[in-house]
C-alpha cells in the first residue's frame, strides 16, 4: 500500500504540464536521434544532456530518461525500414524486422516493436517499483567494503561479459580510471596530474568523454565509410495495425522479452544488446515456426524489442538504488543526477521520495509517450533519413561542441572532446571497449572513496572485508564472472569434440 500511494504521488507530480512537456520532448528528441544511424543512445544523451541542466531536477532527469528510452526505440525504426540499425541493440531487430519490411509488412513490424517496447517497459517499471523498497532497505546495510566490491564486480563483469578481448577491456578500464584521477581530489584536497595548467584543475567532464568517444568517433567512422541511405519503403498509417493473429503470436515473446531484459539489465554491461540477443535465441528455440526466423518471423521483432526496452528498466535499479551505473546510458544519467545535485543510492528513496517516485512514474509515462508518438510519427522519422549526409554530420558536430562546452562553460572541455574523439576512433578501430573507459571513469570516484574508507575502517586488514557475508557473496560473484567464460568455452569445445567423435562412430 505504501508503494502504491508513493507511486500515485509520483503520477500526480508527473501530470504537471512542464514535466509532461519535457517528457514528450525528451522522448521525441531521443526517437529522432535514435533513428539516425551512428549516433546511438549514449552519443544522443551526451549531446543533449546539457540542455537538461537548464531545467529543474525532476524535469531535467525525466527529459534525460525520455531521451534514453526514445533513442532505444528509434534505433529499431531505421533497422526495420532500411536495414541499418540505429544503435547496437537494434541489430537483432534487423534480422527479422527488415525482411518483414521487404515483404510489405513494415508497418506491422514497427507497430509490434512499439507495442513490445511499451509492454516490456511497463513491466520493467512495475518490477522496479516492487523491488525498489526492499532492495533499498537491504542496500542501507551496505558500507564502503560492499560498495567497493560492487564497483569492482561491475568493472570485472563488464570486462568479461562484453565480448571481444577481455585483456583489452581491462586495459580500457585502467585507462578510464586514470582519466578520472586528473584534477582536484576531493578526498585529500590536492590537485593531481594537472601538468601545471589551471585548465586541468577541474578534471575532465564526463560529457566530453561520452560525446567524444561515442558521438564524434562515430561521425569519424561514418565520414570514412561514406555509407548512404538507400531505398525506403512507404509506410501508410493504416498499415500500422497488426492483425489479431500478429498480436497473439507476439504477446508471449513480449512478456518473456521484457522479463529477460529486466533481469539482464540488472547486470553490468551492454544489457540492451545482450538481452535482445538472449530473447531472440530463446524465441527461436521455442518457436514452432523456427524456419521463419531470419525471414520475417514476427517473434523475432517482438521479443528482442521488448527485451531491449525491458533492460532499460532493469538498468535503473542499480543506478537508483545503489548509485552505481552498470552501463553507458545510466552512467550518463548519473552525470545528470550529479549536476542536478541529486545523489542516487540506498538513501535516495527516503531522502528524496518525491523525486524518486516522480522519476519512476516518469519512466512509465515515457513508455506511454513512446507508443503515442512513435507510430503516428513514423513518417516524419523516416523522412529524417533523407537528410543529406553532409548536413547531418555538420549538425551533429556543431551540436556536440555546443553540448560539451555548455556543461561547464570551459573551452578546455572542447579540447577534451577532440582528444577523446581521436582516442575513440582509434579504440573503435583496435577493438578496445569505449564503454569500459566511460564506465570506469564514472565509477572511479565511488571506487576510490570506497577503497580509501575501507582501508581506514579495516586498518589495512583485508580480513575485515573477507569476513563480511555480503562481501563474500560479491567476491564469489566476481570469481564466477572471471571463470565463467572459460568454462563455457571449454564446455562448447567438449561438445564440439563429442559430436565429431559421434559422427565418426556413426559413419563407421
Amino acid at each position: 500500500m505504501d508503494v502504491i500511494s508513493s507511486l500515485s504521488g509520483g503520477f500526480e507530480a508527473i501530470f504537471d504540464p512542464v514535466l509532461l512537456a519535457t517528457l514528450f520532448v525528451g522522448v521525441l528528441v531521443g526517437s529522432v536521434v535514435g533513428v539516425l544511424p551512428g549516433i546511438g543512445p549514449v552519443g544522443a544523451m551526451a549531446i543533449l544532456l546539457p540542455i537538461s541542466f537548464t531545467l529543474d531536477p525532476a524535469a531535467g532527469l525525466i527529459m534525460t530518461a525520455g531521451i534514453y528510452l526514445g533513442s532505444q526505440y528509434g534505433g529499431s525504426t531505421s533497422a526495420i525500414l532500411v536495414g541499418v540499425p540505429g544503435e547496437a541493440s537494434s541489430v537483432v531487430t534487423l534480422l527479422d524486422g527488415y525482411p518483414m519490411a521487404k515483404k510489405g509488412r513494415a508497418g506491422v513490424a514497427l507497430a509490434i516493436a512499439a507495442i513490445g517496447s511499451f509492454v516490456a517497459g511497463t513491466l520493467s517499471v512495475l518490477l522496479l517499483t516492487l523491488v525498489a523498497r526492499p532492495l533499498s532497505d537491504f542496500a542501507t546495510s551496505f558500507s564502503s567494503p560492499e560498495f567497493l566490491l560492487i564497483a569492482l564486480f561491475a568493472l570485472v563483469a563488464l570486462s568479461r561479459l562484453t565480448g571481444g578481448s577481455s585483456i583489452r577491456t581491462f586495459a580500457a578500464v585502467g585507462f578510464g580510471l586514470m582519466l578520472a584521477t586528473i584534477g582536484f581530489d576531493a578526498g585529500t584536497g590536492i590537485v593531481r596530474f594537472d601538468m601545471g595548467l589551471s585548465a586541468f584543475v577541474d578534471g575532465i567532464e564526463v560529457t566530453a568523454i561520452a560525446v567524444g568517444m561515442f558521438g564524434i568517433a562515430e561521425i569519424l567512422l561514418m565520414a570514412e565509410s561514406r555509407e548512404d541511405v538507400t531505398r525506403m519503403p512507404k509506410v501508410p498509417f493504416r498499415s500500422l495495425w497488426p492483425t489479431g493473429r500478429d498480436m497473439r503470436v507476439s504477446t508471449g515473446p513480449m512478456i518473456r522479452g521484457g522479463l529477460i531484459g529486466f533481469v539482464l539489465g540488472l547486470l553490468p554491461g551492454p544489457s540492451g544488446v545482450v538481452s535482445s540477443y538472449g530473447s531472440y535465441a530463446l524465441e527461436r528455440r521455442i518457436a514452432k515456426n523456427k524456419d521463419e526466423f531470419g525471414k520475417g518471423a514476427i517473434q523475432g521483432v517482438a521479443g528482442p524489442e521488448a527485451a531491449n526496452n525491458g533492460s532499460s528498466g532493469g538498468a535503473m535499479v542499480p543506478l537508483l538504488i545503489l548509485g552505481l551505473p552498470f552501463n553507458a546510458p545510466t552512467a550518463l544519467l548519473l552525470a545528470g543526477f550529479t549536476v542536478q545535485g541529486v545523489i542516487p543510492g540506498p538513501l535516495f528513496i527516503d531522502s528524496n521520495p518525491v523525486l524518486f517516485w516522480t522519476l519512476v512514474a516518469g519512466l512509465y509515462a515515457a513508455n506511454v509517450a513512446l507508443l503515442i508518438l512513435n507510430l503516428p510519427l513514423v513518417g516524419m522519422f523516416t523522412s529524417l533519413l533523407k537528410i543529406p549526409r553532409d548536413l547531418l554530420m555538420t549538425l551533429i558536430v556543431v551540436l556536440a561542441i555546443i553540448g560539451t562546452y555548455a556543461t561547464r562553460g570551459h573551452l578546455v572541455d572542447v579540447f577534451w572532446l577532440l582528444s577523446m574523439a581521436i582516442l575513440g576512433y582509434v579504440f573503435a578501430k583496435l577493438g578496445i571497449s569505449r564503454v569500459a573507459v566511460m564506465l570506469a571513469f564514472v565509477i572511479a570516484p565511488t571506487l576510490e572513496s570506497s577503497f580509501t574508507q575501507t582501508a581506514v575502517l579495516s586498518g589495512g586488514d583485508i580480513g575485515f572485508v573477507l569476513q563480511r557475508p555480503i562481501c563474500q557473496a560479491i567476491l564469489g560473484l566476481i570469481v564466477v564472472v572471471l571463470v565463467l567464460p572459460w568454462l563455457t568455452k571449454a564446455a562448447a569445445r567438449r561438445r564440439g569434440a563429442v559430436s565429431i567423435l559421434q559422427q565418426e562412430v556413426d559413419a563407421s
Binding site: T54, M178, T181, R192, A223, R226, D390, A406, A421, T452
Partner: protein, 177 residues
C-alpha cells in the same frame, strides 16, 4: 513518402573516399607500447604524490593502481601479439580525408572561438564541413552555415539559456543583450 536512392545520375558526387584505415598488428603493438609508456609515467607520478600506508592510503595510491592495471594488461596484449608475430595482419594507412576534416573543424573551433565567438566560428566550421563532406556549391553552403551558426546561438543562448562564447569581437547573444 518519396524514396531515396543512391542514383548514379546525380551530378557532382563527392569523390570516393578510398579504402578505410585498418590498423594492422604492427600499429596495435606500437599503440600498446605507447600506452605502457603512458601508464608507467602515470604510475611514477602517482608514486610521487604519496602512497600513504595501508591504514590511510595517500592520494597517489589509487592512480598508481589504475596505471598498473593499464600497463599490465597492455603488456599481456602486446605479448600475445608478439607470440603470433608470424601471422600478423598487415594494416593500411589510408586516413580518410573526410574524417580529418571533422577533426580539423573541431580544432579550428577551439582555436578561434575565443576571438570570433560561437556564431561566427560555428558558421565557419560548418562551411568547412559542408564543402568537404558533400558536393554542395559554395554559396548555399555559406547560407546554410550562417543559419547553423547564428541559429544555434539563438536557440541555445537565447531560448535555452546556455552560455556560449561571444569572443573578443563580442558577437553573441549575451553581448547583444
Amino acid at each position: 513518402m518519396s524514396e531515396v536512392t543512391s542514383s548514379p545520375h546525380v551530378e557532382a558526387e563527392p569523390p570516393a573516399a578510398g579504402p578505410l584505415w585498418e590498423p594492422g598488428d604492427r600499429f596495435r603493438l606500437g599503440f600498446n607500447f605507447a600506452g605502457v609508456a603512458l601508464g608507467v609515467v602515470f604510475a611514477w607520478q602517482s608514486a610521487l604524490l604519496g602512497l600513504g600506508d595501508p591504514e590511510r592510503p595517500g592520494s597517489g595510491l589509487f592512480p598508481l593502481i589504475a596505471g598498473v592495471v593499464l600497463v599490465v594488461f597492455l603488456l599481456i596484449d602486446a605479448l600475445r601479439l608478439f607470440v603470433r608475430r608470424r601471422t600478423w595482419t598487415p594494416g593500411t594507412l589510408h586516413l580518410s580525408r573526410e574524417a580529418m576534416v571533422v577533426l580539423v573543424a573541431i580544432a579550428l573551433y577551439l582555436a578561434t572561438v575565443g576571438v570570433l565567438g560561437h556564431a561566427l566560428t560555428a558558421s565557419a566550421i560548418a562551411v568547412l564541413l559542408l564543402t568537404s563532406l558533400g558536393s554542395r556549391p559554395l554559396f548555399p553552403s555559406v547560407m546554410i552555415s550562417l543559419g547553423i551558426g547564428f541559429g544555434s546561438e539563438v536557440l541555445f543562448s537565447a531560448l535555452l539559456g546556455l552560455g556560449l562564447p561571444s569572443g573578443l569581437l563580442g558577437i553573441g547573444w549575451s553581448a547583444w543583450m
